[in-house]
């Protein structure tokens, strides 16, 4: 593939093991271009979510998971940062919308600040909430019900609220772990449009097992199989002329 000119993230020889010997990700190296959308595709159990979760150090919560290799964010090894600082710079959106159930919409957007112990004035809070909700195209729908609980919204709205919650902290990278797999087609379409819009301000890595979604929205695509990064290329090239036989088989539906 053409070389990445301005990588925001450099993944170098990363392997991830569950338990003592079960390798879920095998020696993956890849650079991620700034302000683009990179899709990670592959069949279930290929290690795509596992790789994604290494980027915001989620694996540290579980003692049995071991990560080796290096991940550089803006040239700095993420292991040399404090985990809370690192996770502030790398937002994450989960498969199922999970707004904090006891917080209202307003507080959900500001949850990142609250959890980091950052004090804001009322005007700063109002500004951040309005701007972020406008960014995710949710402001007009919820501006009159900011004090209602986040769980009161529809699934698609909840997911946009969760995206807003991550964006409020102005992260460098937004990780999305199959963000539309629990949503209906219309809500999915809104989220996809939103993701494309967001790449102006944030780099996005999205795990999906929906090939057409990757094709629609991504600039670059990774194809993973059995823990290995089989192919990584410009999405246009990947979907028209894949180089590896396994990629071709997956994209044509012969392997899933």
């Amino acid at each position: 593939m053409e070389s990445i000119k301005d990588p925001i993230l450099q993944i170098k020889n990363v392997s991830i093991a569950y338990g003592s010997n079960k390798l879920a990700v095998k020696n993956v190296s890849a650079d991620v271009e700034r302000n683009t959308i990179t899709a990670i595709m592959g069949p279930s159990g290929c290690g795509k979510s596992t790789l994604l979760r290494a980027v915001n150090r989620m694996h540290e919560l579980y003692k049995s998971i071991h990560v080796t290799g290096e991940i550089l964010l803006n040239g700095v090894n993420i292991m040399e940062m404090h985990p809370t600082e690192e996770r502030r710079k790398v937002g994450m959106v989960f498969q199922r919308p999970n707004p904090f159930p006891t917080m209202n919409i307003y507080d959900n957007v500001l949850a990142g600040y609250k959890l980091n112990g950052i004090k804001l004035s009322k005007t700063e809070k109002d500004e951040i909430v309005e701007k972020t909700l406008r960014d995710v195209a949710l402001w007009d729908e919820v501006k009159d019900s900011l004090t209602k609980r986040g769980t009161f919204l529809s699934g698609g709205q909840q997911q946009r609220l969760c995206i807003a919650r991550s964006l409020a902290l102005r992260p460098d990278i937004l990780l999305m772990d199959e963000p539309t797999s629990a949503l209906d087609p219309i809500a999915t379409k809104y989220i996809e449009e939103l993701i494309v819009e967001l790449k102006k301000s944030v780099t996005i890595m999205i795990v999906t097992h929906n090939m057409s979604q990757a094709k629609r929205i991504s600039d670059y695509s990774m194809f993973m199989y059995m823990g290995e990064l089989i192919e990584y290329d410009n999405s246009h090239i990947m979907f028209t002329e894949p180089k590896d036989e396994r990629t071709r088989a997956y994209l044509t539906g012969k392997m899933g």
Binding site: M58, L61, R87, R96, F100, P101, T102
Partner: protein, 289 residues
């Protein structure tokens, strides 16, 4: 036509089973209703404002009132004050300790010390309350050289603790893991996420558990016999023996002149426990995550 006949038999069986279920559930309700009815019928005559605001009458006054055919004067105010004072003291310590212990048990499940603590919690929950009473007597009453409300609240604290630990632990375990991950992914520190995301999400169920723990220990008599002892006058001094409603029921039973007060006191306890249970149900519904 055998097919149709089979169907008839199945419908008949279905109806019989349904009838059986109705009959048995009706049978179990009978003793419950009988207890409620008995206490209500015998107790409501005693209930009056003075019953809740005055202390236990002395035996002489009660005897005179009885022989004159009047209702026994006085009430259970000393017991109500004692019960609530001791409950509050016990709860103030048991709630934070129990919640933190419950969080630890759910967070460190599988670790050896969590397993040990978990077993001990079960053991404590199954310990007969009279044993907790005698232990508290040795630990608190003997060193303090006297019965006291403090000792009573220690006994109630020990009774409440496993109930609160269990309800917290069970609630924390059923919260989705992604809730914690979402908090941590925003850069929250572990304890901030626990206190500001997880605990509030579990609050409804934990609060319900606390209410049920209170309603469970409010009627405890045996542990208080060894610790709070009881008292005939209204007392606010927690270093001195203190009355409690369940203790008073036992005292009334032993004094022929005061026996008519038993039912009023029972009705009070029963009403309060019922109220706590209904409140717990409502809160659980309202705070459901």
């Amino acid at each position: 036509m055998t097919h149709d006949k089979n169907l008839q038999v199945r419908i008949f069986k279905n109806k019989m089973l349904y009838l059986l279920v109705c009959i048995f559930s009706g049978l179990t309700a009978i003793p419950l209703l009988a207890i409620l009815g008995e206490v209500l019928i015998k107790g409501w005559r005693q209930l009056s404002w003075t019953f809740l605001t005055e202390a236990t009458p002395n035996a002489y006054k009660a005897m005179m009132a009885m022989s004159a055919g009047e209702p026994v004067p006085g009430g259970i105010a000393n017991g109500i004050i004692g019960t609530f004072l001791m409950l509050i003291m016990a709860a103030v310590i048991a709630i934070p300790v129990g919640i933190f212990c419950g969080i630890c048990l759910s967070e460190y499940k599988g670790k050896w010390f969590a397993t040990v603590v978990s077993y001990l919690t079960d053991l404590l929950q199954g310990t007969p309350s009279i044993i907790i009473g005698i232990i508290t007597y040795i630990w608190v009453v003997v060193p303090m050289k006297g019965y006291s409300a403090i000792a009573g609240s220690v006994a109630l604290f020990i009774m409440m603790l496993p109930l609160i630990i269990r309800s917290t632990e069970e609630t924390m375990k059923i919260l989705p893991e992604t809730l914690k991950e979402a908090g941590l992914a925003l850069g929250g520190s572990y304890w901030r996420v626990m206190l500001q995301v997880m605990l509030p999400s579990a609050f409804g169920s934990i609060f319900t558990g606390i209410l049920l723990a209170i309603s469970r220990v409010i009627g405890e008599t045996a542990p208080l016999m060894f610790t709070a002892l009881g008292g005939a006058a209204i007392s606010w001094n927690i270093n001195r023996p203190m009355a409690a409603v369940p203790l008073m029921i036992w005292e009334f039973f032993n004094d022929p002149n005061l026996q008519s007060l038993i039912w009023g006191a029972s009705l009070f306890l029963l009403t309060f426990v019922l109220f706590l249970n209904l409140l717990a149900k409502r809160i659980q519904k309202k705070w459901k995550v």
